[in-house]
């Protein structure tokens, strides 16, 4: 841009515009240029009419009022992309599609299968875990009922040929032990459910870890870029 600002101010403005351009990735070149030019004009007009004395304070104030690049672009994205961005990009999409179809599919299927394998394994483990917990709870409740029946009326179960809770010859003693075992069983199931909450958190954390790392690296690079400019 032309020399409308002093060098240090120009640097700050250019940094902002650079960040703005990053958010305009994938937009038609003409749209991109036009918006950057327009925002530059806005910054200039705002800067000229701001009464703040210190230049740096003034430009920071101007950019603060303008908002982050995401706000200048955000909703524009959704509309511009569908209305005109798409038409221009179409050939590229087709090209990408053909390339992937020709070379990517064999590789892609391999990678996809690998990822799918991991996902299915994790899913199956979680499923098995919860099934176990559920069975423990159900077994606990059923055991409890059986044990109570055993104490109250041992005859009923024998009549139906159900052979259960015969730890000892004495049905009452067997029943009491049955109750204790059943409660432990159910408690174990509930404990597993409770623990599952943390397990799920752990799994989510594990999956988010690589995403976080990528984000961090990107942010760090951006900060470094800005810093090196002011040094």
């Amino acid at each position: 841009m032309t020399n409308n600002f002093s060098p240090s101010i120009e640097k700050i403005v250019n940094d902002y515009l650079k960040r703005l351009k990053l958010h305009l990735k994938g937009f038609p070149e003409k749209d991109k240029e036009e918006l950057v030019k327009e925002v530059y004009s806005h910054i200039y007009e705002s800067f000229v009419s701001d009464p703040t004395e210190d230049e740096i304070d003034r430009i920071l104030n101007v950019l603060n009022k303008l908002g982050e690049p995401t706000e200048v672009v955000s909703s524009r994205m959704s509309t511009a992309m569908v209305s005109m961005g798409k038409k221009r990009k179409l050939p590229l999409y087709i090209l990408a599609g053909v390339t992937i179809a020709l070379f990517g599919v064999p590789l892609g299927i391999g990678g996809f299968a690998f990822l799918l394998g991991i996902l299915i394994t994790v899913g199956a483990l979680i499923f098995a875990y919860y099934i176990t917990a559920f069975s423990l709870v159900v077994a606990g409740w059923l055991g409890l009922i059986a044990a109570i029946i055993k104490i109250v009326d041992p005859g009923i179960l024998d009549r139906y040929g159900i052979e259960t809770m015969t730890f000892f010859a004495d049905p009452t003693l067997s029943g009491v032990i049955g109750i204790v075992v059943s409660i432990i069983c159910a408690a174990l199931g509930f404990f597993m459910f409770w623990l599952g909450k943390y397990m799920m958190q752990g799994i989510r954390f594990l999956f988010s870890l690589p995403m976080e790392k990528v984000k961090e690296a990107r942010e760090r690079r951006r900060l470094k870029m800005v810093q090196s400019k002011y040094d």
């Binding site: 918006l35 030019k37 530059y40 000229v48 908002g67």
Partner: protein, 130 residues
């Protein structure tokens, strides 16, 4: 709540921008100055650009670059015939809605905000009618 306020503002902002341009052409910064009025509405200035580009794509407003006496050229916006018509229809609708909200008298705080907005719009119209 912040999100709700944002959404409400976005919808009204579009109408307000159209209303400002209905009476005279503006470049981005002058539009912001007009919209924020005496400063009782804080506006993240950048948010007008997505709206302007959308309005332009809908054919409601047009723009042209005009050299400025000092500094870089400015992009001036003005309403098209279709934009004029749209504003008239939307403005009538908005007035009806605003009246509805004032009548309901739900939350004194919210009501105050709505009134404030309405006042600004009405005031602007009066100014321009003169």
């Amino acid at each position: 709540m912040d999100n709700k306020i944002k959404q409400l503002r976005k919808g009204i902002l579009e109408l307000a921008i159209l209303g400002c341009l209905y009476h005279e052409s503006h470049y981005g910064y002058s539009l912001v100055k007009t919209l924020s009025g005496e400063g009782d509405i804080t506006l993240t200035e950048g948010t007008i650009y997505p709206i302007l580009s959308r309005l332009a794509k809908e054919g409601l407003i047009r723009s042209e670059w005009i050299e400025s006496q000092q500094g870089p050229p400015r992009k001036y916006y003005s309403v098209t015939a279709g934009g004029k018509k749209t504003f008239e229809v939307l403005n009538d609708e908005f007035k009806k809605l605003a009246e509805l909200i004032v009548d309901v008298k739900k939350e004194p705080e919210k009501k105050g905000q709505e009134k404030e907005r309405k006042k600004i719009l009405v005031k602007k119209e009066r100014e321009d009618d003169k």
